[in-house]
Amino acid sequence: MNAIAREQPFSPPEPATHPDLLAVGQPPIPAMALRGLSKRFGEKIAVHEVDLTVPVGSFYGLVGPNGAGKTTTISMAVGLLRPDTGSSRIFGVDVWEEPLRAKALVGVMPDGMVMPERLTGRELLVYLGQLRGLPPDDVYARADDLLDALGLLGAERTLIAEYSAGMRKKIVLATALLHAPSLLILDEPLEAVDPVSASTIKRILQRFVASGGSVVLSSHVMPLVEQLCDHVAIIDKGVVAAAGRLDEVRGGRSLEDAFVQLVSGGPATAVRLAWLDNGPQHH
């Protein structure tokens, strides 16, 4: 079945509205607020004093070169990695003081985490749904919807161990959407995903934001961030190099140019690999 040709596009579960958001006359509580987050691994400072504010309803892009500290920041933000200093709040709930309340509000797609390899995709979704305490009927219906929307129904009887890289990404995304979170935090969500599925995922995320949800997404792919996000933060060497509304950060240039300028201090220089210059060599 072709995901694009479907007449009824998949609609993710409606984001739950957090009670604190209903307070009237208060300054709006951000979907996610990181304050002074720092982490050091031995000698190496992975993340240094990161401040980020993700407004409710925003589609927030997190970009940065390899090893810049994006995954470390996200891990600390969602309660997987304990920060040395600083705090992370999700809708005002401190992730490290009230982890259970915070984890209920957020759907996370981590990068490079282990999975129970010997379950099928549907089994994983059903068990995780049950563990989250969803009503039994909802669990099965949502698992089916998600597998269908992400094009995984054909792989019903396939173990996660046998999934391709792209399929693994998709099943992790499904686990993040399962409980209708208010905030989605996605680490490299479209890496290795085929164009058809990528387009489906993009539409799911856009609908999620349109219906009041908030998304934080990390990526190296600048056009993707420009296409989807309304806010962006550039992280380099563990610190926030720039953050704000997309147009402010790129300042009239393409995001890629702004990024290269900020990260390397100038346009990319040509690199030569001398032994490749003479064309293929047959041994």
């Binding site: 691994f41 891990s75 969602v78 309660g79 997987l80 990695l81 304990r82 982890p99 259970l100 309340r101 915070a102 984890k103 209920a104 996370v108 981590p110 490079g112 985490m113 282990v114 999975m115 129970p116 390899e117 010997r118 379950l119 099928t120 089994e123 068990y127 995780l128 049950q130 563990l131 989250r132 173990l159 161990a161 046998e162 686990t175």
Partner: protein
């Protein structure tokens, strides 16, 4: 939550590549039946039957602790804390839920069957003893399984540091050698030659006093002791023994909770192991495909925490197996230390391709790399265990003044070394068992595949390869012909070279034909 986790575990077991009714189950069931038979074996007294049961329960418990490291059995974790880290469930609640899943599986069922010997033993004595036996059965099952998991957790944590690795290896080596030859200590202390001459004499005569005392102190015996106390109406003692078991279990649950909570957070991205510099010799090896692959295999041996641990256990275990009897003046086997190290070394090196995992694609895609890879792994094995085993043999024979052993060692040592290098590479390729890959590893660095069968086959192959040489030595001794001794030495060296060469050749040709299939197996399990 509990039933979901148990369903989850059952689903994983259902998808296991192995059928549930495999030879492991059969062997386990047979051992369980033997254990139950011990409870009704007609010994002279209740106390003697009790001693048998104490030893049997101790052996099962020890098996649960040692098997994950020795053979990989029970070291895997179908459901890891890491899988559930994002759920809004309190760590302690999750830990207790995961605890319940530990009791789901064939291993616990078979062990429960074996421990059924306790109520059987109790039923022979009376109703109170039978009830005590039933309680003891459940407590001992909980103790064995929890101890196993907690030890895996502690070892895994230890492997992250150099000191921890050495310390864990030392401990495992001591426990393994004690379980194999520890019985000589009380036997020697009691001046009781019967046990040394006929290890099965205890079936008819009972255990020597020293060993009884040692047994009584071990928690593995408390359930049996409680049953005997119930039979004698010593209720305080019954309560004491059972409370002791409950206290131990509570302590283990406490540690388990802490271990699970710890793993719900990412501590530091580390694969365990250290970046050791190549040794002086390694830096001077010639530059060629063969030596590159030998070098790579040697680096893996020092950096992959599980391989480093197993190699150390082989060497230290060999030393302790001869040193413990020697400490009580029973020095007959001292000269064999080198050969024992070689056999243990081969048995811990029989899953090299499994440990390499899907990284095998690099060998598969590089033209002509398979022969270099196979021979390189063999060279690495010879260099890892050969010199250290040889030095140990020389020191031990000199220390024990066992000059007679020179001929035997000159013949058997090369035979064992070569047979090991041949057998381990054949089994590594043909019987490769995929292990969790480093990039997908969780907080459990010990996680491994169950290669019990492969371990046993490797040891058997090495022993079979030694047979001709041993037979020739026996004839030489029997008829006193020096010429036969020389022939035996030549046979030992010749069979060693032949085994290494042939094992490598067979593996090269097998990998040439089945490389892609092996890669598929390593990748998808």
């Amino acid at each position: 939550m509990l039933d979901t986790l148990i369903h989850m575990k059952l689903a994983v077991l259902r998808h296991s590549p192995r059928p549930i009714a495999n030879w492991r189950t059969a062997v386990g069931l047979a051992l369980a039946i033997i254990t139950i038979l011990l409870a009704i074996y007609p010994t002279g007294s209740t106390a003697q039957t009790g001693d048998l049961l104490k030893m049997a329960i101790g052996a099962w418990t020890l098996g649960w602790v040692l098997a994950p490291i020795q053979t990989g059995a029970g070291a895997d974790e179908p459901i890891m804390p890491e899988h559930l880290a994002l759920l809004p469930i309190a760590p302690r609640r999750l830990a207790n839920g995961l605890l319940a899943t530990l009791f789901v599986g064939m291993g616990p069922v078979i062990t429960l069957g074996a421990f059924f010997a306790l109520p059987v033993f109790g039923a022979r004595l009376g109703p109170a003893a039978a009830i005590t036996g039933t309680l003891a059965m459940l407590l001992h099952l909980a103790l064995a399984i929890l101890l196993s998991r907690v030890v895996i957790g502690i070892t895994s944590q230890a492997l992250a540091s150099r000191f921890g690795l050495e310390f864990a290896a030392l401990q495992y080596a001591i426990v393994i050698s004690l379980s194999l030859v520890g019985w000589v200590i009380p036997a020697a202390l009691a001046q009781d030659r019967r046990l040394l001459d006929d290890p099965f004499a205890f079936l008819s005569h009972g255990l020597p006093h020293g060993m009884q005392v040692a047994l009584r102190m071990s928690p593995a015996s408390w359930g049996t002791s409680a049953i005997i106390a119930a039979d004698e109406h010593r209720w305080l003692a019954v309560a004491g023994y059972l409370a002791g078991l409950v206290a131990l279990i509570a302590a283990l649950v406490w540690i388990w909770d802490a271990q699970v909570s710890r793993r719900l957070e990412i501590r530091q991205r580390r694969a365990g192991g250290r970046i050791s510099r190549p040794s002086w010799i390694q830096r001077r090896l010639p530059s060629s495909p063969l030596w590159a692959s030998a070098n790579r295999a040697m680096l893996t041996w020092s950096r992959e925490p599980r391989m480093a641990l197993e190699a150390r256990i082989a060497v230290l275990g060999g030393i302790f197996i001869v040193a413990i009897p020697a400490a009580v003046n029973w020095t007959q086997i001292v000269a064999w230390v080198g050969v024992i190290v070689l056999i243990l070394g081969a048995s811990t090196s029989c899953n090299l391709y499994g440990l390499e995992g899907s990284a095998f694609w690099m060998t598969l895609l590089t033209p002509g790399a398979i022969p270099a890879d196979v021979r390189g792994k063999q060279i690495a094995y010879l260099m890892k265990f050969g010199p250290v085993a040889l030095v140990l043999s020389l020191i031990a024979t000199a220390w024990g003044e066992q000059w007679w052993a020179w001929t035997w060692i000159a013949a058997i040592f090369p035979a064992a070394l070569g047979a090991g290098a041949g057998a381990m590479i054949v089994v590594s390729a043909r019987g490769a068992v995929p292990v969790p890959e480093a990039s997908r590893k969780s907080g459990n660095l010990v996680a491994a595949a169950d290669n019990t069968a492969q371990t046993i086959i490797t040891i058997a192959l090495v022993l079979v390869a030694l047979l001709p040489t041993v037979a020739m030595l026996y004839l030489a001794g029997r008829y006193g012909w020096p010429l036969l001794e020389w022939i035996a030495i030549a046979m030992g060296i010749g069979s060693g070279v032949l085994a290494t060469w042939w094992g490598g050749r067979w593996t090269i040709s097998w990998l040439g034909r089945n490389g892609p299939e092996l890669l598929t197996r390593l990748r998808y399990g």
